[in-house]
C-alpha cells in the first residue's frame, strides 16, 4: 500500500527561501518519522516547484498530481493565490489539501477538502493590536503592499483601536522595495510611540530592520512591533543587534522552550547544520506532515477522502513544536497558541524569546468577524 503525497512549494524564484523552509520541515519529518506507519504501508512524497506566486502553474501542477500521479494528499503551498487556485480542484477531485503556509484567511472556505495547519495574519496581528493599546498611545503602521500586508494592517488597527489606541499614520510599501529608508523616515518624523510592521520576511525583513536602525528610530524611542514575520527565525541572525528588543506576536519561535520544540530544533540543527534555525514555516511543515501521517495511520493506508477529512477535522496534537494545536472542526483552520515574544540574546545569538502566551488555543478572529450570512 503506497500513499502518495503531492507537495507543492516554491523552489525557484525570489521566494525560494520560503519554499526552502517548507521543504526542510517536510523532509525532516519524513526522514525521522517516515517509517512510523502501519505494516505494509509506504509513503511516496512527490515534490513540485510552483516557482512563486504563480497560480496557474500551481493549479496545473496540482491537476497533474491528481490526475497523473493520483496523489491522496496535497500539501505545501507558500502562496495564498496558489492555494486559492488549487482549492476548487480539491473539491472536484476529493483530494484532502493540507495547507502548510498560505495564510489568506478565506482559503479554507473555498473547499471542504482544505484544512490549514499554518496561521492567518489576523490571528497574530489582532491580539498584538489589543496588547499594544495597553502599552502605546500612538502607533504608525508600515506593511508590504499586498493582500497579507493589508490583512495584517486591518487586523492590527482593529485590535488597537478597539482598545483605545490611535493610529497616526499608515504606509504601504511596494513588494519590490529594497530601500525602506523613506518610509521609516516618515515614521520617524511622525514621532509615534511604536511602529507596527508587516513584511513577507526574508530580505525585506532585514532591510526594514536595518532602516529602523540606520535612521536611529530606536534611539528616538520608537518601539518596533509586528507579527512574527518581521523577525522570522531563519533570517534573524542577519539583522544584527538592531533587532534587540523588537516585540512580536506569533505562533512559533525556535527559542520556545517546550520539550517538543527543543527536540525539533535539535533534530533540525543536526540535519541542516548548527547555524540553521528552523523558521515558523519549517515547524508548520513538520506539523502538516504529522497530520497527514496521523490520517494514514488511522486509516491504515486505505485512504478515503471523506474519512480523511473527518479525521483531520478532529485532529489534535498537544505536543507540536509550537505547543498544543488542533484543527477547528467547523472551519478546518488551525487553533493554536499565540505567543508574545521579544528579541533577546541567548548564548550570544539573537532569539525570539517567548514572554507569555497572549492567546491560548486561539482561532482565526477574522472568520468570527466575517461570518458567512
Amino acid at each position: 500500500q503506497t500513499v502518495k503525497i503531492g507537495i507543492i512549494t516554491t523552489y525557484s524564484g525570489p521566494t525560494a527561501g520560503q519554499g526552502d523552509q517548507l521543504d526542510k520541515g517536510f523532509k525532516l519529518y519524513l526522514k525521522l518519522n517516515g517509517n512510523k506507519l502501519p505494516p505494509g504501508v509506504k509513503v511516496e512524497p512527490i515534490f513540485r516547484d510552483d516557482t512563486g506566486a504563480n497560480p496557474d502553474a500551481a493549479k496545473r501542477i496540482a491537476q497533474e498530481l491528481i490526475v497523473r500521479d493520483k496523489v491522496q494528499f496535497l500539501t505545501g503551498v507558500v502562496w495564498t493565490p496558489n492555494a486559492a487556485a488549487i482549492a476548487p480542484l480539491t473539491a472536484e477531485a476529493k483530494v484532502p489539501f493540507v495547507i502548510a503556509n498560505a495564510a489568506g484567511w478565506n482559503i479554507p472556505r473555498m473547499s471542504k477538502y482544505v484544512a490549514r495547519v499554518s496561521h492567518t495574519l489576523p490571528q497574530s496581528a489582532y491580539p498584538l493590536g489589543k496588547w499594544a493599546a495597553k502599552k502605546f498611545k500612538r502607533v504608525y503602521t508600515v506593511v508590504s503592499d499586498f493582500a497579507p500586508g493589508q490583512e495584517a494592517e486591518d487586523a492590527f488597527i482593529k485590535g488597537f483601536k478597539e482598545s483605545g489606541g490611535e493610529i497616526v499614520g499608515s504606509a504601504r510599501v511596494p513588494l519590490a522595495t529594497t530601500d525602506f529608508i523613506p518610509y521609516m523616515q516618515r515614521v520617524k518624523d511622525a514621532k509615534p510611540d511604536a511602529i507596527f510592521a508587516f513584511n513577507p520576511g526574508g530580505k525585506q525583513a532585514t532591510a526594514q530592520m536595518k532602516a529602523y536602525a540606520d535612521l536611529g528610530l530606536k534611539k528616538a524611542g520608537i518601539k518596533y512591533i509586528g507579527t512574527g514575520d518581521i523577525t522570522a527565525d531563519e533570517e534573524l541572525q542577519n539583522m544584527g543587534d538592531a533587532a534587540l528588543g523588537v516585540i512580536t506576536v506569533h505562533h512559533y519561535s525556535a527559542a520556545g522552550d517546550r520539550p517538543a520544540n527543543k527536540a525539533f530544533v535539535a533534530a533540525y540543527k543536526k540535519e541542516y547544520g548548527e547555524k540553521m534555525n528552523p523558521g515558523y514555516m519549517a515547524a508548520v511543515a513538520w506539523d502538516a506532515m504529522d497530520l497527514i501521517f496521523h490520517c494514514i495511520r488511522e486509516e491504515k493506508g486505505k485512504m478515503d477522502p471523506d474519512k480523511t477529512m473527518e479525521i483531520i477535522r478532529n485532529y489534535k496534537n498537544p505536543d507540536s513544536p509550537r505547543g498544543p494545536i488542533q484543527i477547528d472542526p467547523e472551519t478546518r483552520d488551525i487553533v493554536q497558541n499565540e505567543y508574545l515574544r521579544e528579541v533577546r540574546k541567548v548564548d550570544g545569538k539573537l532569539a525570539n524569546v517567548e514572554l507569555e502566551v497572549i492567546e491560548t488555543q486561539y482561532k482565526d478572529p477574522w472568520k468570527e468577524f466575517n461570518k458567512p450570512k
Partner: protein, 291 residues
Amino acid sequence: MQDFLSSLVMVAFHGLAYGMILYLISVGLSVTMGLMGFVNLAHGVFAMAGGYMMLSAMSRLDVPFPLAIVIAFCAVALASMVLERFLYSRLYSAGELEQVLFTIGLIFMSVAVARLVYGPLPQPVHIPGYLKGQLHFLGRDFPTYRVFLIVFSVSLVALLWFGVERTRWGAMVRATVDYRAMAQSVGINTSRLFTLTFALGSGLAALGGALGAEIIAVEPTYPFEHLVFFLIVVAVGGLGSLRGPFVAALLIGVADTACKYWIPEFGAFFIYIATIAVLLLRPEGLFGKAT
C-alpha cells in the same frame, strides 16, 4: 517650515545614497551594453558574484572589508574575461535577440549555481564597525555607510569620466561597435579591447554588488530581481554615456525617495511613470546621442 527643511535634507541625502547604489551597479551595464552594444541582461550575475565574493572573502577567509571589495572586483573581472573569450565574444556579431537569449540562459545557470553554493536565503552582511552607526552634522544623523557610498561613487564617476570618456579608449570601443572590421583596419586590436572593456564592466558590476550588498541583499535571484532597475538607469541615462547613468541614478534615487516619503501611495508607480515620461520626451535618454 523647520520640519519641512529638515525632511528636505533627509530626502535629498537618502535619495542621493540610494541613487549612488543604483549607479554603482548599473554603470557597468552602461559599459557593456551602452558602449559595447551587447545586450547583457546577465549584468546582475556579475554584481551578484561580486557580492558573494566579498561576503565569502570576509566570512571564510577573514579578509578585511576594503580588501574584500578589491578581491571581489578582481576575481569577477578575471572570471568575466574567461567568459568573454569563450562565450560572449562569439555573439558580438549576433543579433540582439540572440544576445538576450544567451544572457538569460546565463542568468538561469548562475541562479542555480548560486543556490547550490550559497543556499536560497540572502547572505548576511557584516560591514566593519567604522562604517556602522551615524555621522552627526547639520544637526542631523546620517548613516555612515551611506555617506561612504556617496563619497565613493562620486569619486568613481570622476575617475571613469577622466579615464574613459576623455580618452581615446571610449572612442575606440564605439568605433569597434560601429564597424568592427574598419576598427581593426585602423589598428585597433578589437578582441583585446573588448575583453578588457568587458572585464571593466563586469568588475564595476561586482563592485556595485559588493558595496550595495548592505542595502540590496545578495541572493540567488538577484540577477533577475533588479534587472529592471539596471535597465531603467541605463536607458534613462542614455546609451554610450557614463555620466548619463550617473545623473539618471541620481534623479531616480532622489525623486523616488521623495515620492515614497511624501506620497507613499504612489511609491510603486513613480519610477515607471518617470521612465515613461523621460523616454517619450527624450527617447535617446538624458545624455544619449540622438541618432
